[in-house]
Amino acid sequence: MIETRALSVHLTGKPVLHDVSLSLPRGKLTALVGPNGAGKSTLLTALGRLIAPASGEILLDCVPLNTIPAPELALRLSILRQEGAVGPRLTVRDLVSFGRYPHSHGRLGVTDRAEVERAIDRLDLAAFSDRYLDTLSGGQKQRAQIAMVLAQQTDVILLDEPLNNLDLAHARRVMRIARQEAEAGRTVVVVLHDLTVAAAYADHLVALKAGRVAASGRPDQVVTEPVLSDLFDTEVTVAEVGGRRVVLTL
C-alpha cells in the first residue's frame, strides 16, 4: 500500500503537484486519470522515488519511502515510464532479463529465467524474444518494456500509460495482466487516458487536474457525466452498454 500525505512536487522550481493526499490500496488496481499536464506522470515518478517531493510524505507500507535503501526498493517497487528511453541495443529477452537485476544482480538463476520467460509469454513476445529492440514496432517495444517491469515481480507496480501504441487485443491483454497482478495482492497503479478502459478494469480511480486531486472513488462514482465533464472541461457522455460504462466524447 502507498499513501501520500500533503504531497507537493516541483519540477525545475515550478510547482506541479499541490497537496496531494491519497491512499493506493494493496490488492487493488488504481487508475490515475486526468487531462494532459495534470501531473499524473509526475505523481507516478514521485511514487517511484525518481523525483523528491518538495514537501509532504510518501509512505510505502507505512514506512517513509525515502528511508528505504535503493536495492530493497527495487525489490518492492517497479515503474514503467511514459517516454520509452533509447538505450543499449538489446534483444527483448536481454531487456526483460534486466528486470530481474534487483533479484539476480546479473547471475540469472532458474527462477529468474522462468520469470523472464513467463513475462515474455504474458506479453505475447515469444516470437520476438531474440529480436533487437530497435527492430521492433512501437507497440512491440512498449510490450517489451512492460514485460521488463513485470519480470521485476514487485509488490507495487506503477505503469504510466502502458496502453500507448497497443492495438486493442494487446491493450486488453495488458489490462488483464494488471488485474491479475492486483488480485495477486499487489498494489497496481495505472495511468490511463481511455476512461472506458479505466471504468472496466479499475477498482479505484483517482482524477488529477492541474496538480490536485479533483475526484477519487469507485468507477461508478468517478466515471460520470458531471465529474468527467468538469475534469476535462469538455462535454462528455457516459452510456451504459452491456452493463458497462462507456465514455463518449465525440
Binding site: 535503493a70 525489490l75 515510464r81 538505450g87 543499449p88 541495443r89 538489446l90 536481454d94 534486466f98 533487437y132
Partner: protein, 307 residues
C-alpha cells in the same frame, strides 16, 4: 563453441604471428633477441592499448548514452595530456608512476567535466554530443599545446597525442598492462554499465547507485586513456569504430559483447600497426595516423548508415 565465436581469437593469433615476423630486422639472421625485446613487447602493447581503448569507448558510450563518443572525442586524452604537461613543468624529474597518476586524475576531471557539459544539452540531436566533445577536447588540447610551447615541451605533446608503437621495447610499455587490468574490471561490472546506458531513472529503478556506477566508469575510462597516452600516445577512433561494429552484429549487452569488443580492439590496433610497418617498408607510419584515416572513413560511413 560455434565457429563464429572462434573467429575472433583465431584472427588475433594469426595477427600476433604476423606481427612477430614483420619488421626491418630479419629473425632468420639469428637475431632472436629482437623478438623478446622489441617485437613481442610491441605486439603486446598494440593488443593491450587496443583492447583497453575499445572497452573505454563502449563504457563512455554507455555513460554519455551516445554512440558517437570515445576517449579521444570527449576531452579524456587531451586532459591526460594537459595533466602530463603540467606535472612535467612543476616536477620535471617526477617518477613515471607519479606522472601517470596525475595524468589519470586530469583525465578523470576532464571526462567528468565533459559528462556534466553534455548533460545540459538537449538530447534531441545525438550529434551535438560528439561535436561538443570535439570542441571541448580541442580547447583542452590547445591549452596543453600552449603550456608546452611556452616551455619547450612541444615534442612531448606530439608524442602523447599521436600513438606510435615503434619505440615500444621491453621495460618501456609495461604500464599498459594496467589498461588490460582495467578492461577486465570493466567486465566484472558489465551489467551495471549496460544498465547505466538505459539512463539514470532506469538504473535507479533497478536499485543501482547511479552516481557510483558513473564514477566507476569514469575511473576505468580515464585510467585506460591516461596509461595509453603516457606509454604509446593516443590512438584515435578505436573506441568509436569497434563498439559500433560489434553493436551492429552482436548488440550491446556488455556481459556478452565486452570480450568481443576487447578482442576486436586489440586486433584492429595490431593490424593497423602491422600495416604501418609494411606500407612504406623499411620506413614506418605511426599506428595513430593509420587509425586516424581509417577511423575517420568508418565514422563517416557510420553517420551515413544512420539514415
Amino acid at each position: 563453441m560455434s565457429p563464429s565465436r572462434l573467429a575472433a581469437p583465431a584472427a588475433l593469433v594469426l595477427l600476433v604471428g604476423i606481427s612477430a615476423v614483420t619488421g626491418v630486422a630479419s629473425l632468420s639472421g639469428g637475431e632472436w633477441w629482437i623478438l623478446g625485446v622489441s617485437r613481442l613487447p610491441r605486439t603486446a602493447a598494440a593488443l593491450l592499448a587496443g583492447a583497453g581503448l575499445a572497452v573505454a569507448g563502449v563504457i563512455m558510450q554507455m555513460l554519455a548514452r551516445n554512440r558517437f563518443v570515445e576517449p579521444s572525442t570527449t576531452g579524456t586524452a587531451q586532459a591526460a595530456g594537459l595533466g602530463l604537461v603540467a606535472v612535467t613543468l612543476v616536477a620535471p624529474g617526477a617518477a613515471l608512476w607519479l606522472k601517470m597518476a596525475v595524468a589519470t586524475a586530469a583525465a578523470l576531471i576532464g571526462t567528468a567535466g565533459f559528462l556534466a557539459l553534455v548533460r545540459r544539452l538537449p538530447s534531441r540531436d545525438p550529434l551535438l554530443v560528439p561535436l561538443t566533445g570535439l570542441v571541448y577536447g580541442g580547447i583542452l588540447g590547445a591549452a596543453a599545446t600552449f603550456l608546452a610551447y611556452e616551455r619547450d615541451l612541444i615534442q612531448y605533446v606530439d608524442v602523447w597525442m599521436n600513438g606510435e608503437l615503434s619505440g615500444v621495447m621491453l621495460g618501456r610499455y609495461e604500464f599498459l598492462w594496467a589498461a588490460g587490468a582495467l578492461a577486465i574490471a570493466a567486465y566484472v561490472f558489465a551489467d551495471r554499465f549496460t544498465i547505466a546506458g538505459m539512463g539514470e531513472d532506469t538504473s535507479r529503478s533497478l536499485g543501482l547507485d547511479y552516481p557510483r556506477v558513473v564514477a566507476l566508469g569514469l575511473v576505468i575510462v580515464a585510467g585506460i586513456a591516461a596509461v595509453t597516452v603516457v606509454t604509446v600516445g593516443m590512438i584515435p577512433f578505436v573506441g568509436l569504430v569497434v563498439p559500433n561494429m560489434v553493436a551492429r552484429f552482436a548488440g550491446e549487452n556488455l556481459r556478452r559483447t565486452l570480450p568481443l569488443v576487447a578482442m576486436s580492439g586489440a586486433g584492429l590496433v595490431l593490424a593497423c600497426d602491422i600495416l604501418g610497418r609494411l606500407i612504406r617498408f623499411p620506413y614506418e607510419i605511426p599506428v595513430g595516423t593509420i587509425l586516424g584515416v581509417l577511423g575517420a572513413l568508418v565514422f563517416l560511413w557510420m553517420l551515413n548508415a544512420r539514415r
